[in-house]
Amino acid sequence: MSSEPPTAKPPLPRTKRPNYALLHANLLPLTIQALPPLIPHNPLSILQILYTYFFCRVPCQPEPLYTGVFNPTTRSVHVTDTRSIKAFWTSGFFGKGSLSRSEPTWISRRRRALGVIGKDEALTAEEVTERRRKERKEFKLERARAEKEKIQNQLAQEGKVQFETGAVAPSSENKSVTFAPPETPAEEKDQPAPQVVEVEDLEHLQLTLEEAFFLSYGLGALQIMNAEGNKPIEVPDALSLFRKFSYFPHLEDDAILQPDDVFLMNYVVYHHFRSLGWVVRPGMKFSVDYLLYNRGPVFSHAEFGILILPAYSNPYWAADPERKKRESRPWHWLHSVNRVSAQVKKTLIMVYVEVPPPHEIEGLGITDMLKKYGVREVSLRRFLVARNRD
């Protein structure tokens, strides 16, 4: 009985995915009000438009503004209220849950572990990945075992190995016992769960400094509070604060800021791609500065990896060999980065940021200052003669 081929387990039922197109219909955390249509032969429509325009205008920005607290230790902006978290994640994919991979889902995983919600209810991205990996692992074990058994049977038929058919069985059974973790204890744990457990959400959303600055300066949707959380930070103050915190250790208050500090370079590129409609997310895990998503991480994989490189082509920088040296990188570095992005099927884009000399941006407002920066993109792909034919 045990020697007969084991019946393959039915694949896990596919859980229905939420309607992401509806969930993430808003591309940015702003509300955009459409004016009533203009009907040429109906003069009243013009009046209606004017009326709506002057008297019924709803501001784009949320009311009240979403809030986040600047955290100097983690060099990020923490968002703790549910409304802001939801808005930032669903419209624009800003930030990352502090206890999750990207979307803040710790609470639902916790609830499932405590038995408040069902086993297959509202699966999070982490759980889906975990299940897929488990399924794949089991499939591979099963395949290896079946192959081994086939060979044993063949050998037995040929009379090369002498054993009773029962002799193989214990090993296979052993295997299934050792490798497939028993399901029952989890279910047992589920059963006697208390009826209603109020789980406190311990997770917050972390915005990188660039994201926070884009939300507050670029969109005006975020109010950044100081570290104590009692006073809002004005936008120009936020800029100089973030620039100081892009150094390690961070600069003191009276330090002179350089036009090529990490925050400014990153922000120029972040703003550039966000304003062109891309969803930009940090790409540290793929050894690039940013990842570009077409619509967002829930819809598709990132298509491009962004590398930010400073370009000191202004004649002012000719006298600065230290910076010129920073401009040039070794060949093996480029090959390494390119190989890594080719492995994960992303196209590498090197973004050169033209750095203006410090005297040109001194005393300018944020917008004027950002205008002095230039951005050039160079796309790079590994080409294999034999493989890239079609």
Partner: protein, 338 residues
């Protein structure tokens, strides 16, 4: 494979425009065997010039390899261009003549050997094919004769009605003729081949083979070690050289790793036998490493089942007698999925 001639140390390394080359195959195998250095073959193979997958002499050494060989006193660097010119200029007229004579003699000798070998091969081949052909023809003739005999028998049955027995008379002849011609031709063939073989080899009929002589081992081209100036000495990257020495001193074979995105690939033995275990990058002791580069290195190494390694040499402490190769510390990074 013929045994390599013993190589006398120090041997010359030829510097051409900043690259360090070895032209002598004996030196190449000596370096590989004794010094664990593989270098990179960089010359076109004369027999298969239209590809660049398999390359031949000269062997290009990495700067680190050349530097270490010089440091060990196993080699000295010669500037190829000036040495060549100088050697030629300083040569006396009779020396030149003697050299040319010697060279011609050698060419002649190799060409004769080659020709003789070729002829022997040809003769052997002809003998074999002749045997085969004779056998085949004989079989064919017999078969045909038998067939015709059968046909004739058939025809004999109806003989009187058919008024043309001509085929009987005519037909056997071609088969026989061909057999005969094969037989009669056969003795001629070896004669012809022996003819050419017995012809004296002159410069006129020596069009088959031009041996390539190794010119770099002649004394005029290998100046003595004294002449190597300090400006020629290989200057390896000070941040990666200690790492090279460290791994080399522990028996690793290192090869350049540019196309794999690193400075060196470290093989546990000869690179023809083993896969590399590490892809290594050398860094200065106080050099800052970008977090992104660590992530990238870890992914790069793990993606090809190797470990990404970086290492540097701390500055010399007082009372620390160890050399760079022993002081160097290395670290490995692998990408772990949690």
């Amino acid at each position: 494979m013929p045994l390599a001639e013993p190589v006398q140390e120090p041997f010359p390394i030829y510097a051409v425009n900043g690259t360090y080359l070895l032209f002598d195959v004996n030196v190449v195998s000596h370096v590989r065997k004794k010094h664990h250095m593989c270098g990179v073959l960089s010359g076109t193979l004369p027999q298969v010039p239209q590809q660049n997958v398999f390359l031949g002499l000269p062997l290009q050494l990495m700067v680190e390899e050349a530097a270490l060989l010089v440091e060990k006193g196993a080699a000295y660097v010669v500037d190829d261009v000036t040495a060549h010119k100088k050697g030629l200029k300083e040569m006396m007229e009779e020396d030149k003549k003697r050299y040319m004579d010697q060279r011609n003699e050698e060419i002649m000798k190799t060409a004769l050997e080659h020709q003789a070998a070729l002829e022997a091969k040809k003769a052997g081949f002809i003998a074999i094919s002749k045997d085969k052909k004779a056998k085949k023809d004989k079989e064919k003739a017999e078969k045909k004769a038998a067939k015709e005999a059968a046909e004739n028998d058939d025809e004999l049955l109806f003989g009187p009605t058919k008024s043309e027995p001509a085929p009987v008379a005519v037909d056997p002849t071609p088969a026989e003729a061909s057999a005969a011609s094969a037989v009669s031709e056969a003795p001629e063939a070896p004669e012809a081949s022996t003819d050419t073989a017995s012809k004296p080899v002159t410069t006129d009929n020596l069009l088959l083979h031009y041996p390539i002589l190794n010119t770099s081992t002649f004394p005029f081209h290998s100046p003595l070690p004294e002449s190597s100036s300090s400006s020629l000495l290989p200057r390896p990257n000070p941040s990666s050289y200690p790492l090279y020495k460290h791994l080399h001193s522990r028996g690793y074979f290192l090869s350049p790793g540019l196309r794999f995105g690193c400075q060196f690939m470290a093989y546990p033995g000869d690179s023809l036998r083993y896969h590399s275990h590490f892809i290594a990058n050398g860094l200065g002791w106080d050099e800052e490493i970008d977090m992104i580069d660590i992530v990238g290195g870890g992914r790069l190494g793990t993606g090809v089942k190797k470990a990404w390694m970086f290492g540097g040499c701390p500055p010399k402490q007082e009372g620390d007698e160890r050399g760079e190769e022993d002081r160097t510390r290395v670290f490995c990074v692998e990408w772990g999925g949690f």
